[in-house]
């Protein structure tokens, strides 16, 4: 009985990103960096050692001029539910020190920076490359530490970090609701920094289990797809695209497959 | 590692895994304790000429 009740109230936060609307402007990336105290270096052109919890990919259809098409695809951590949605996401199940965890109440995959000792097994496990390692100590030019937010701790060198769905915003919203005597929070009270900043309104964030939230209907769109669904990672990021080649780019297909 | 660490859960996987680990550690520990204890006995108490050499 108790189980059933807690199951009913379990949330599953997720995103629907409309690729038809996304313009590749990069606001989501910077909104995320600004919200989450993401550091920067003098040279950030080596993208494989550049921390961007939200990263916008540029996809092409591979055709030559003038039939070329490009599409932008913002990619945060997919907050995988794992096989059967049991919370055994690829990264959570491998972390030896329980530094990354699947929150059954929200469906959010957390990362505890002070617990992580930097073995990077989670990075090897993540097929989305959504995890980033602090190869360097974060350094801000003198005076620039002023803008650092106390809501997200600054990560030191040698640990892994990744998108948290701005979990601190969820906590703040919950706290606020608690003080105001409410048991639950509204859809607008908890939004990620990227969804909030997106000028195109391409990112919709909410509880995938709550029929009152916009994402609930959006994810059922016939143009909706997720990345690498065949691996049974059960990601919580849905993408929408009216273009077939983009939807197909979301997963791997055998050569003879239609 | 210890039941008082908060990630400890009394479930099958913990019992099997940690059981195996503690079992191995106990064997190693007891084995070494025996060897050292026996050696102390042999050397300082029994003081006998080692009968095997």
């Amino acid at each position: 009985m108790k189980e059933e009740k807690s199951d009913k109230s379990a949330k599953k936060f997720g995103m629907v990103i409309d690729l038809d609307k996304c313009t590749g402007c990069g606001s989501c990336m910077v909104a995320c960096m600004a919200e989450n105290n993401v550091p920067f270096k003098e040279d950030e052109s080596k993208k494989l050692v550049s921390i961007t919890w939200m990263r916008v990919y540029r996809l092409t259809n591979g055709k030559s001029f003038p039939d070329t098409e490009i599409c932008y695809l913002p990619k945060p951590c997919q907050h995988c539910g794992g096989k059967g949605e049991h919370g055994h996401s690829p990264c959570v199940s491998v972390c030896p020190a329980t530094a990354t965890d699947y929150n059954k109440e929200t469906g959010i995959v957390s990362q505890i920076y002070t617990r992580c000792f930097g073995c990077r097994y989670c990075m090897a496990a993540c097929p989305y490359h959504a995890r980033y390692f602090n190869w360097w100590d974060p350094v801000w030019p003198k005076g620039m530490e002023e803008y650092l937010s106390p809501n997200v701790s600054v990560r030191m060198r040698g640990v892994v970090e990744k998108c948290s769905f701005c979990f601190h915003r969820y906590q703040l919203a919950k706290d606020k609701a608690y003080y105001e005597g409410r048991s639950d929070i509204g859809e607008n009270e908890y939004q990620t920094a990227c969804a909030q900043a997106c000028p195109a309104g391409a990112i919709t964030f909410g509880d995938l289990n709550d029929s009152g939230h916009a994402v609930y209907e959006l994810k059922k769109n016939k143009n909706a797809f997720r990345l690498l669904e065949r691996l049974q990672t059960n990601p919580k990021i849905y993408y929408l695209s009216s273009r077939q080649w983009i939807r197909r780019a979301g997963d791997n297909y055998l050569k003879n497959e239609k | 590692m210890f039941p008082f660490c908060f990630e400890w859960i009394w479930d099958m996987s913990h019992i099997v895994f940690m059981g195996g680990l503690w079992f191995a550690l106990i064997i190693i520990g007891l084995g070494m304790t025996y060897c050292i204890g026996r050696t102390f006995y042999d050397t300082y108490i029994f003081k006998g000429k080692d009968g095997h050499n």
């Binding site: 050692v49 096989k83 055994h88 690829p90 199940s93 491998v94 972390c95 030896p96 020190a97 530094a99 617990r115 992580c116 000792f117 930097g118 990077r120 097994y121 990075m123 090897a124 496990a125 993540c126 097929p127 989305y128 490359h129 995890r131 390692f133 602090n134 190869w135 360097w136 100590d137 060198r157 040698g158 892994v160 065949r230 691996l231 049974q232 990672t233 780019a249 979301g250 997963d251 791997n252 297909y253 055998l254 050569k255 | 590692m1 660490c5 990630e7 996987s13 895994f17 940690m18 191995a24 064997i27 190693i28 084995g31 070494m32 060897c35 050292i36 050696t39 042999d42 050397t43 080692d50």
Partner: protein, 417 residues
């Protein structure tokens, strides 16, 4: 100078010659230590690893040396549990090699993690579902066992043996060595397996992922098996190299041949299992994820299908056939070639399951990631080699490692310096 410490009956090279040899190895060691310190104090930016290549050369080196160190547990298993008595003539050396491999592996892990001072969190905050936790636990415990197995050999040193306490200790440890050996076999079995599990459980990485039983993917068993199969070959190889360098015969042929024969059968059966696993992976596991075999062996500058052929045919089937046939293993070159191939084979297997896994793209819009280690990575990977040479040199010089040495080199009996 140090002749008092050397067992009287054994002939060893002069002190200055030994010092020269050690300082050569020591120089390499210092280079590795310098690189290690760079990684510790400046961080892992000293490497060429990146967010796509979170596991690289070091993890491969770790897996490879542990597989090669598998000679220790398997020889121990054969000697103490199965009761192959002849193997007592090589088990000491197998233990020392094992000890070197395992302690090196732990040192490398200590450099590889981003926050080494916090490394003990793996024990304290253990996630029992992680293969790496299993690896760390078994590795550490087994290193204890290897130390315990190594101690009596040290205690046999002429000077140490003179002290009654240590003499008795050595004796007592010998007497219950089977218990330790059994524990070691148990631990080793699990962590060799869990190392295989490390990549086998990655269901987000179709190249590495394998189905299996309960929580263990097939690679779990294949790794244990291959370590048991190829580890002895490494022991044989190192023994042969040691014989070459010292210019003496140290172990009798029948001992080597016995080990080679067992190893041959192990490799043979392993490679059959490996082929079945590969075929199942190609036909069943892979297609379910939308991948074809050649997706993992094309469109990149290095990884072609040759690596699969090399691993299975040339470094698998071939050494198995050589070692299984009596003619093959009795032939000087046949034995050495087979041992080299087997060692190479297991190294390639570990390479593929660490580095090729990282290199192959999973998202359709990502591409192959090639990586070349930085000198710091190479230096720290060579570090165990130098460290191993030093340990072996000291052990060989001061400890009676090879029980048959006296017998095989009779003219040195009275000529010891």
């Amino acid at each position: 100078m140090d002749s008092k410490i050397i067992s009287g009956e054994l002939k060893r090279c002069s002190t200055w010659q030994f010092a020269l040899w050690i300082s050569a190895a020591g120089a390499v060691l210092l280079w590795g230590v310098y690189a290690m310190l760079l990684c510790w104090f400046k961080g892992l930016n000293q490497t060429n690893m990146n967010d796509s290549y979170g596991f690289a050369l070091w993890i491969w080196a770790d897996l490879a040396i542990i597989a090669l160190g598998g000679g220790a547990f398997f020889t121990g298993f054969l000697r103490y549990i199965i009761g192959k008595d002849e193997l007592k003539n090589i088990v000491n050396y197998a233990v020392i090699i094992g000890f070197i491999c395992y302690s090196s592996a732990l040192i490398i892990l200590g450099i590889d993690v981003g926050q080494p001072i916090r490394g003990w969190f793996i024990f304290w905050h253990a996630n029992v579902h992680s293969m790496l936790t299993e690896v760390a636990f078994c590795l550490t415990c087994y290193l204890f066992v290897l130390i315990i197995e190594y101690i009596p050999i040290i205690l046999e040193n002429r000077r140490i043996d003179n002290i009654p306490f240590f003499h008795n200790l050595g004796h007592n440890m010998h007497s219950i060595m089977a218990v330790f050996a059994a524990t070691g076999v148990f631990l080793s079995f699990f962590h060799q397996g869990s190392l295989g599990g490390v990549s086998g459980v990655l269901f987000g990485r179709p190249f590495a992922y394998r189905e299996g039983v309960l929580i263990w993917p097939w690679t779990f068993f294949l790794f244990t098996w291959s370590a048991a199969a190829c580890g002895p070959c490494f022991t044989i190889l190192i023994t042969k190299i040691t014989e070459k360098i010292t210019g003496k015969r140290l172990v009798k042929d029948n001992v080597i041949e016995l080990l080679a024969k067992i190893s041959g059968w192990m490799i043979g059966t392993y490679i059959i299992a490996k082929i079945i696993d590969t075929v199942y992976w190609i036909k069943v596991t892979l297609p379910a994820t939308g991948f074809g075999l050649m997706d993992f062996y094309s469109n990149n500058p290095f990884y072609g299908i040759w690596i699969l052929v090399l691993e299975i045919v040339i470094c698998g089937i071939l050494p198995a056939l050589i070692l299984i046939s009596e003619k093959g293993r009795k032939n000087r070159y046949g034995l050495i070639i087979a041992a080299i191939l087997a060692v190479l084979g297991v190294c390639i297997n570990r390479w593929v399951l660490v580095l090729q896994v990282m290199a192959a793209p999973v998202l359709t819009f990502e591409t192959w990631q090639m990586y070349f280690p930085s000198w710091q990575e190479i230096a720290t990977t060579i570090l165990p080699l130098a460290y191993g040479i030093i340990i072996i040199s000291f052990s060989y010089r001061y400890l009676p490692v090879f029980p048959q040495e006296k017998e095989l080199n009779p003219w040195t009996i009275n000529g010891g310096k």
